[in-house]
């Protein structure tokens, strides 16, 4: 019993202590107003000392800052400002000399020789060498890496790349070599007209090979991180913030106006907007429910973003084995209304497949040149449905289920499509939603009949998207297989004459519209709130946000 009493006393003490702590905190909470103001002043003072500090939000912790491992926007957006590939996108979103000063392309278009700038240096002062690129690219393609790169397929354009990555070839057979310290030679599998664009992708960024050989996790912490881009990583408090400082070793450091960039990691739409309102962030995204209110403001940036939202027909399931029925569905959709009233946020309706923002050799935009391929046409839709049903001998259309991965916007779009199909075709379709992973596994296995999908470009060429639908492509997910299409894409990848190459791609897109294996809904766009003080942030249709030329008024 005495022991019990003792225990009770101890417990009471603990409770009392907790109470005291709480009281202490309560005490601290009272004058918080003063503390905060003092802190605000301190922050302001700090800003003056630090020069121009841009405050951004990265949303969440980057997956990895090891160039080819990250492969998502939260990793590659910061990385694009820390590092620089052989080429870099300029204000017009075209590839310009980056770490490479100039290059020679062989006549057959397969061998590229890059001359790296003499003054291209790493943030620790060492020169950027050809070997750094060889090291980084072979690491991307190495199937035994820890972990293997999810972006490795981007390196298959390099001769021997696919063989090495699939385990059939070896690292030595990958045709990229350092001719001398500053000269890099790459041989490609086939001529690739967009190779220079591809090189702006962070997967192709160099890695300081001596640093990486000594410390394989050099990229995991700020103190060991070496970069060759406009900024260097000086602080990285995991899951909460990163601080970049201007990299004085960068060859074009004079063009960099910012002194520091703070990246917060706030993963809540409302919170990051409230921080923007309060002045704690310089840019923010627009929370969905405030779109109508904010989208027309002066401080809103709206730009193209290479990507398409679409619905996949499953050609291995009834009734979508029939082309005319697929076309009927596609012509029954009023995309203008979906973009304007359902998705909102300034997005454009998709009357074609390749999104706007790809400039061809003649200087015209792919989308403008190939025109509108699918528009609303109720009469044509009804007629096509009738013909299609006759061809298949249907008295009544088999049941159609439209599946989408659970989200408010996806639901709203799906319900609108359901309405439009009912109104324009007189067909009742069912809706079904699934959690993302379950949904995407089922879609991959062709278990869904009619399902939502999206595509975001990895590199700046229309073939990136169009290639998805070649026979047996991992991204195909429709059961579509067409020799003519495969052939057009093969030519659209390797034709040396750019004019001709684009012609093949125009034709391929038209064939896609004729076969109508997917139903385009709308293009993606970039929307951002930007403080009046900020200027010069580059947001490319394909590529990652660039702060090289960004500026902020004090």
């Amino acid at each position: 019993m005495k022991k019990m009493l003792l225990f009770l006393l101890t417990l009471l003490t603990v409770v009392m202590l907790a109470a005291c702590t709480a009281n202490d905190d309560a005490g601290k909470e009272e004058p918080a107003e003063n503390t905060d103001h003092a802190e605000g002043d301190a922050e302001a003072a700090e800003n003056e000392d630090d020069g121009k500090v841009l405050r951004l939000n990265n949303g969440i912790e980057p997956k990895s800052l090891n160039p080819s491992i990250g492969f998502d926007s939260v990793s590659w957006t910061p990385l694009n400002n820390l590092m620089e590939g052989l080429t870099r996108l300029d204000e017009q979103s075209t590839a310009q000399p980056g770490a490479a000063e100039k290059w020679d392309i062989s006549e057959d278009g397969k061998t590229y020789t890059f001359h790296i700038r003499e003054d291209a240096n790493w943030s620790n002062g060492d020169p950027v060498t050809a070997e750094d690129f060889v090291f980084a690219w072979k690491l991307m393609l190495d199937p035994e890496q820890d972990p293997p790169s999810p972006a490795a397929f981007l390196g298959y354009f390099i001769k021997g790349g696919e063989a090495f990555n699939s385990g059939e070839g070896s690292a030595d057979d990958v045709a990229v070599k350092a001719v001398n310290e500053k000269t890099l030679e790459v041989e490609l599998e086939a001529p690739t007209g967009f190779f220079l664009d591809l090189l702006t992708n962070p997967a192709f960024f160099p890695i300081h090979h001596q640093v990486a050989e000594e410390n394989p996790t050099w990229h995991a912490e700020a103190d060991s991180f070496v970069s060759n881009g406009p900024f260097k990583l000086t602080e990285w408090e995991h899951e909460s913030e990163m601080v970049f400082e201007k990299n004085e070793e960068y060859w074009d450091a004079d063009a960099v106006k910012l002194d520091k960039v703070h990246w917060a990691m706030v993963n809540d739409d409302n919170t990051q907007y409230q921080m923007f309102e309060r002045g704690e962030l310089d840019t923010a995204s627009i929370p969905a429910e405030m779109s109508d209110q904010l989208i027309d403001g002066d401080n809103v940036f709206i730009g193209d973003y290479g990507g398409l939202e679409f619905y996949r027909f499953n050609l291995t399931m009834e009734p979508f084995q029939n082309k005319k029925i697929r076309q009927a569905f596609a012509y029954a959709i009023n995309r203008q209304d979906i973009a304007e009233f359902v998705v909102k946020n300034g997005v454009d309706p998709a009357f074609g497949f390749v999104s706007p923002g790809f400039t061809g050799p003649s200087g015209s935009d792919f989308r403008d040149a190939n025109g509108d391929l699918v528009t609303l046409d109720e009469d044509k839709a009804k007629q096509l449905l009738e013909e299609g049903m006759k061809e298949e001998g249907y008295d009544e259309l088999p049941e159609v289920v439209l599946s989408y991965n659970t989200s408010d916007t996806n639901k709203a779009v799906a319900e609108t499509v359901q309405d439009m199909i009912k109104e324009n075709l007189g067909v009742e379709i069912k809706l079904e939603n699934q959690e993302w992973e379950v949904f995407s596994a089922a879609q991959q296995d062709l278990e869904l009949q009619f399902s939502r999908s999206s595509f975001i470009n990895d590199y700046n060429d229309p073939v990136n998207f169009l290639e998805s639908f070649i026979t047996d492509s991992y991204m195909n997910r429709t059961g579509f297989s067409n020799e003519k299409y495969d052939d057009l894409i093969a030519k659209g990848k390797s034709e040396v004459d750019e004019e001709k190459r684009w012609e093949y791609l125009y034709e391929a897109e038209k064939l896609l519209a004729e076969e109508m294996i997917i139903l385009p809904i709308r293009y993606y766009n970039t929307v951002a709130l930007e403080s009046d003080k900020v200027s010069g942030i580059l947001r490319h249709p394909v590529g990652y946000m660039d702060l090289k030329y960004a500026d902020k008024q004090q």
Partner: protein, 310 residues
């Protein structure tokens, strides 16, 4: 007592094993893969990744690997954050969640009990209605709404507190408030109702008749019994709050561990799912154990050997 504790420990281990096994079965039977994303990919890349993380192995081997990793407290690297081990993630997130949680619990328990006592003493008076009105509001307003309202009013409009992130005491005020309100309301209501019951008991009348001061009666005699139901809910409450609140941490951008419970499942990040499940289970089991011990101390009528002997 010692025998009881040893027996409980054995039961705890079995419980843990059942939880791990069930989690594993659920985890592998749900479709999806950690490498599914909206980005492009191809078969070779997928195969390399699956091989690297041993996901191409038969399920029973994967299971044995998991048991091994749990036994050695090394859950391996996270799949969605490949350069960080699960231990790193939990080791970094838990102290922050714990800090937020312990302050919130302290605030909730203290203010809840005080509110409950006051309401019970002023039964059916204005103060009772006010206190219980507050409690009903606290229970019925979800904390994410409260959090957003607090930020809008106190941080954006009045600029008293910072909006979000976790760096100074001033940053803690709003999340603690948002997190503590719900538990506080529950505790206040519980305390009030048991307090009312206890206050009508004979031994309280006896204490009054003896001429003890009212506060002494409440603190020493009434509260001890009135707290029993509160202790009962404390186990789950503490385990839940201390291991982090997904919603509150997300809204206030607090780098705690709450997010891993939800995100690991969304991303099919198997090692993190296992790590968080084991961590939370151990925490919860231990808390429930402590609650049982506390019962015995507060209420001598509960005897461990009898309970264990059933």
């Amino acid at each position: 007592m010692l025998r009881y504790i040893l027996k409980r420990l054995a039961i705890m281990l079995v419980t843990l094993w059942i939880i791990i096994t069930l989690t594993f079965i659920l985890m592998v039977s749900v479709p999806g893969s950690p490498f599914n994303s909206e980005s492009s990919s191809n078969e070779i890349v997928q195969a390399n990744l699956n091989k690297h993380y041993n996901l191409d192995q038969p399920k029973y081997i994967q299971y044995l690997e998991y048991i091994k990793s749990i036994a050695t407290f090394d859950f391996g690297p996270s799949i969605s954050k490949p350069h960080q081990s699960v231990n790193d993630l939990l080791g970094r997130g838990f102290p922050i969640s714990f800090e937020l949680g312990i302050i919130s619990i302290a605030v909730a328990v203290l203010s809840g009990i005080i509110l409950g006592i006051i309401a019970a003493l002023r039964h059916n008076g204005i103060i009772d209605y006010l206190a219980m009105g507050l409690a009903v509001l606290g229970i019925s307003i979800p904390n994410f709404i409260l959090a957003t309202l607090l930020i809008q009013q106190l941080a954006v409009n009045w600029e008293i507190f910072p909006v979000a992130t976790w760096s100074s005491p001033a940053h803690m005020v709003l999340p603690v408030f948002a997190l503590a309100t719900g538990p506080m309301a529950i505790i206040a209501r519980l305390t009030r109702s048991t307090m009312l019951e206890v206050l009508t008991q004979d031994y309280i009348k006896m204490a009054r008749a003896k001429g003890l001061s009212p506060w002494k009666i409440i603190i020493k005699h009434a509260l001890r019994n009135a707290l029993m139901p509160v202790i009962t809910i404390m186990g789950t409450l503490v385990a839940g709050v201390l291991t982090g609140s997904f919603v509150i941490e997300k809204i206030f951008a607090i780098p705690g561990m709450g997010k891993y419970f939800v995100e690991s499942i969304n991303h099919r990040d198997y090692p993190v799912i296992m790590g968080t499940t084991v961590f939370y289970s151990v925490f919860l089991i231990v808390m429930l154990f402590l609650v049982d011990i506390a019962y015995g101390i507060l209420d001598p009528r509960i005897k461990f050997h009898k309970k264990g002997g059933d």
